[in-house]
Symmetry: D3
Subunit: 139 residues, 6 copies
């Protein structure tokens, strides 16, 4: 049986700020520059969720992409879209919302909900058209 990697894309718009609350305002501005703007800035984030598995002989599918879409919607897009990543999201509370940290948190949200036989392989998060981060669950 062949092993395949299927990916579903989604997007959300959010505000955030790079700010470490254990540091002074000056230290934050020195570390993060304009990304530390106290009134926040924002992005159109693009999210790709990649799942690994073998196609079900009955359906020809690794998993139903409509199910994967629903999981992503419920676990990630609804809680994050049009929100402030520093202030509005309980499961990001205490997390500096760099895309590195957000992508790890998204992995934790999605991984428990995948059906038997579908293994989470990679989460990719684009912050702008010029930068993105990838996470394979490596620790």
């Amino acid at each position: 049986m062949p092993t395949l990697y299927i990916t579903r894309k989604a997007h959300f718009n959010a505000a955030h700020q790079l700010w470490n609350s254990n540091l002074s305002e000056q230290e934050n501005l020195d570390l993060f520059g304009k990304c530390a703007n106290p009134h926040f800035h924002g992005h159109n984030f693009e999210l790709f969720v990649c799942v690994k598995g073998q196609p079900n002989p009955k359906t020809g599918l690794v998993m139903d992409l409509k199910d994967l879409k629903k999981i992503i919607e419920r676990e990630v897009i609804e809680p994050l879209d049009h929100q402030n990543l520093n202030l509005d999201v309980p499961w990001l509370d205490g997390t500096m919302p760099s895309i590195e940290n957000v992508v790890v948190a998204i992995w934790e949200r999605i991984e428990p909900h995948l059906p038997w036989g579908a293994q989470l392989h990679k989460i990719t998060l684009w912050e702008t058209q010029n930068n993105f981060v990838e996470y394979y669950g490596e620790n």
Copy 2:
């Protein structure tokens, strides 16, 4: 002499909120839904500035795109990038920052700085990959 339309693209990331301060919180939420989130949300805005003119016989150019780039940078990108459109931009003060209103304000910023023979023709502003606004200076 032929008439040509040249366009330069730029982008900025900003936070904003749809909120009319003459209305109650409930009225704002009813009008704007999640776009009225009091903690703001944000976007990667894409801006296209289109200038109309006839190419200079000496240079073959309607205008030097490096000059147009500098005008856009100084007048729009520096003041807006990584800012909060509701709170941080003096020339948007008192303006509800819908993309409709922002694009008109951007026209006013750029138009006085174009060189002789180059006429501002259109400003286009993409808010997400799914919606944008165009303005031709029509009143």
Copy 3:
């Protein structure tokens, strides 16, 4: 008051075939080549709906894009997505589904539903990444 043009994007996947039922099979194959494949072929269509108007002073918006999205969904995307444009769509019955004819039919579907003050300006339909058609309601 400034006049602005706002555009909302949507997409649908459909099968179609270029085939004129008043002509013979040979004439159809001569006219349309592989686009006349009797078992159909298909596309990911991208639709842009552009509306013209002046922003409402209370909201700063030409019209609520969530309303425009709902109109497009109900009138165009639901009836066309994952359908066969030759066989499955009552309001395309008797219409050769070239993108030229489909875009005129889409105009007729959307135009009656726009709110007061928002005027349909242009429908754009991309068939592939290499070709698209635009319609301004000109007859």
Copy 4:
């Protein structure tokens, strides 16, 4: 000698339907929803073929991309473009044309034709702008 991965992109438009002929119509509709539309739907498929190898010291190339383009054209694009994946393609006969199954069949078509020193590494197939599948030949 460095090892490099070169990728060539191609595209084709086709109709298909998710339908398991061993199941009843109702079971197919329950399993696949609108993807089981009996009149088919379709997509603009984007195909990426990635080949691994070391650059030839004489040419600086892993392989001539014009040769790779010809192989992809002859083996995949000509047989699939403007066709119905359920009905028109002998080498997909008996295969439920999910992108998972199609991508494995494409691997089998391309792999025997690569020149000495160029190893097929990955086939990627985008079905819509929101989902794609990758195959590395793993069984």
Copy 5:
């Protein structure tokens, strides 16, 4: 009968240099900066040809896009692809190859070959992902 605008996209890769041979080397460097590099630089140019007309009742098409593709290929892509716009193209001889001047020359190449009922409406030429020029045949 509705009036429609259909557009076909093509692309070519070419080298060029902004250089006015009536001026000194220093004047050219002052005017054009790095765009005057005497060893040339280059681009992936994207070309959009937009044709206006009414769909033929028999075919539903403004014109056959395969015919438009052939005209663009023969008149523009073959003479320009992988060429040097300053040195290799007889019909650009004596023309400073700014995109403004190139787009006017492309209009002249395509316009005489369109079939009866199809009117050339606009030529668009992207030089990079950040700038493009449009020409409507206005003089």
Copy 6:
């Protein structure tokens, strides 16, 4: 601590030619076809630099993307943008500028400048919208 892969995108425009100076003109034309045009051709190259590491607990970042941007600008974009890859770049001297060879040279330029804890993982270089090369530093 999770391991993450962050990528930064940049672009440059350049001329090049596929030409092996140890071969005759006829052999070059036979090997490389129109890519051997003696007057050069060119591209808008897109470069992606991917760095692997663990986020710094203080900043939440694998490395400061502004620093990565500066390294890419100084080491790659400034020396290559608007240049001729065959003639103008000392560190490509003697290198046939296929994208395979250029991407290996770019790896050597960037790798020594990354900060402690950030490991160069992959360089990707797109030559046109239809082909790209990836390098992981494998020898």
